[in-house]
């Protein structure tokens, strides 16, 4: 429709090239690590590995799935993500629904009370001491309970709920539904996209968080995979040793001489990344909308 000038064409060329380059740079680190994870460790040490595996092997993954600590850490992460996401999204949605009702007594004060926490916090040390005095140290629930309510997500939920047509809920009320029944039977089924978005964000948080367990959890069997990975990577960079793995795996590893610390780390990294990559395409179309609802609250 519009005539393109010479300048427009030059601009278009620059833009397409820049974007293609950016896409490549965004994807390459992931691809390169995937390649290393499928390459025999000794061959990787020779260097020069860029786009394709040179000496293809599944030994790295074999070792990952044979290591009891790693498998256990993976399941802890799955449990934490599942339980944490369901409870957090539910708790936050219920709070948001209550706060979306204009007749709620004290609504304004409750909102101020919650919003203050977005700007002020006690910081790391007082929170740490609180968790300790509550006796939550070194328990599975320390990864779930303190972050149960997200004020940011609550605001997004509340904005969404208050935009629902009032008629729907009124008819439910006529039929004798209370707030709770209306919420579960009418409102939640209508909130698919916003729930999907916020569940994705919450799940990503739970899956990725390594820091809270690193300070609150000491039991080996409660450590999630990201925290374990961090320990393995740290040990690798500092000492280049593989002393992190337990004795059984180490013996196993000496038999499989193809595996090195680096190739093994890459395999663990892939195992810790792939669940996210699998979920993400399904929710991508929702979260763009979700981010928008959140940012338009002003």
């Amino acid at each position: 429709m519009n005539k393109l000038t010479f300048g427009d064409k030059v601009m278009a060329t620059i833009i397409y090239t820049a974007l293609a380059l950016l896409a490549f740079v965004s994807f390459y680190p992931f691809w390169n690590s995937l390649v290393i994870s499928f390459n025999s460790g000794q061959d990787t040490m020779l260097g020069g590995l860029t786009f394709w595996p040179r000496d293809f092997t599944l030994a790295n993954y074999e070792l990952v799935f044979k290591d009891k600590r790693l498998v256990n850490a993976f399941f802890i992460s799955v449990m934490r993500t599942g339980v944490g996401t369901v409870l957090s999204v539910m708790a936050t949605a219920i709070l948001a629904y209550g706060l979306s009702k204009k007749e709620l007594i004290g609504r304004k004060y409750f909102m101020i009370f919650l919003i203050i926490t977005m700007f002020f916090s006690g910081g790391l040390i007082p929170s740490f001491l609180l968790i300790r005095s509550l006796g939550l140290m070194d328990s599975f629930w320390v990864m779930i309970i303190p972050t149960l309510i997200s004020v940011w997500n609550m605001i997004i939920f509340r904005t969404f709920f208050s935009q629902l047509p009032a008629g729907l809920e009124e008819s439910a009320k006529m039929d004798g539904c209370g707030y709770w029944a209306t919420f579960f039977r009418i409102v939640l089924p209508l909130s698919g996209p916003v729930i999907a978005t916020l569940a994705l964000f919450t799940a990503v948080f739970h899956w990725n968080d390594w820091f809270l367990p690193s300070i609150y959890i000491t039991s080996e069997n409660l450590i999630p995979i990201q925290t374990l990975l961090q320990k393995v990577l740290n040990a690798n960079t500092v000492s280049q040793s593989m002393g992190q793995l337990d004795a059984g795996a180490a013996a196993h590893m000496s038999r499989l001489t193809t595996v090195t610390g680096k190739s093994l780390s890459m395999a663990i990294m892939m195992v810790a990344t792939i669940p996210i990559i699998l979920v993400y395409p399904f929710v991508q179309k929702y979260f763009v909308k979700g981010v928008l609802i959140g940012s338009l609250k002003e």
Partner: protein, 313 residues
């Protein structure tokens, strides 16, 4: 005698109304309690910055020492270094990391091939969903001395003769931190701007192109002014976070003790002296110092923005 009766009546009716909506109240009370425990109690805990906190005596039994811990921090030999790192890293993140997603959004807006656009968006959003542990792992692998892709590339381009050990040389550290942050956040941060651009009235572009404005002129004269309010709001929030230079990224990529003179910022310092060395009061004082400055910065930035007509409050 009349007014007290009315008052009690009013009180009664408020109370009655309250109990009538007890099921609604029950939806918010547990959530508020949670927030009280996990957000407000730590705020009260900040007072330990003015004490010599003793873990056995608790806050009630510990001795008050006034500003002792603040003075200790200001006279610490590393105070200057930590403040410099915090402000420089944070400043560079704003200088480069703030405009980058806006530029990306503007470029994506010019793409007419929908398939291409979708692929670029999907790929650039992805890093946002990876943990810092993974991102640091990627960075370490790409930057590795012997087999890292960056060294391979630079050698093949004949820009260097010998592989460089990027992650143990202080001079490269800030560049690495900025790049990894950019890599992780640019795509996702652009979503908001893309959405804002999509809301611009298409008639403006039609009119401009009838007047013979080039694509670049349209971008400069229509798109950018249209999304200015959202740019300003996000900028204020960035400035308010000037003393939050980052935490996980610096902790993970700066773990090599050689890098500490360039990688230690307020937050990592609080973590190290607080959790690792158990200097609870001192670390809390440092954290409180940061919080106070941040609030001041946020307020000042908002005041300046208000003059231009866009502000957060």
């Amino acid at each position: 005698m009349e007014s007290p009766t009315i008052k009690t009546n009013k009180k009664k009716s408020l109370l009655r109304r309250y109990f009538k909506q007890w099921d609604l109240q029950l939806m918010v009370i547990p959530g508020l309690l949670f927030v009280f425990v996990f957000n407000y109690i730590p705020m009260y805990g900040v007072l330990m910055a003015f004490q010599d906190y003793n873990i056995f005596k608790g806050m009630a039994g510990s001795e008050w020492v006034g500003l002792k811990h603040f003075k200790l921090f200001f006279s610490d030999a590393r105070f200057f270094e930590i403040m410099r790192n915090t402000v420089v890293i944070s400043g560079l993140k704003i200088l480069i990391g703030f405009p980058a997603p806006i530029i990306l959004a503007l470029m994506l807006n010019e793409v007419r091939k929908m398939m291409f656009k979708r692929v670029v968006q999907t790929i650039t959003y992805l890093p946002h969903f990876l943990s810092w542990v993974i991102v640091a792992g990627f960075a370490t692998s790409i930057l590795a001395t012997e087999s890292g892709s960056l060294n391979i590339l630079l050698e093949q381009l004949r820009l260097i003769d010998e592989p460089i050990n990027f992650l143990s040389i202080g001079e490269y550290f800030w560049a690495i931190i900025i790049s990894t942050n950019l890599w992780k956040s640019i795509g996702f941060a652009s979503i908001v701007y893309i959405a804002a651009i999509a809301g611009v009235d298409p008639q403006l572009y039609e009119a401009a192109s009838l007047d013979g404005a080039s694509k670049f002129k349209q971008m400069y004269l229509i798109t950018i002014p249209s999304i200015m309010p959202i740019i300003v709001i996000f900028f204020i929030l960035e400035v308010g976070n000037l003393l939050s230079a980052g935490f996980e990224d610096l902790l993970l990529l700066g773990s090599n003790p050689i890098l500490r003179p360039v990688s230690d910022v307020i937050d990592t310092y609080v973590y190290r002296v607080g959790i690792s060395n158990s200097l609870y009061s001192y670390a809390t004082a440092v954290g409180l110092f940061k919080a106070v400055i941040s609030v001041i910065l946020l307020t000042v930035a908002n005041q300046i923005a208000r003059r231009s007509g866009n502000s957060l409050w």
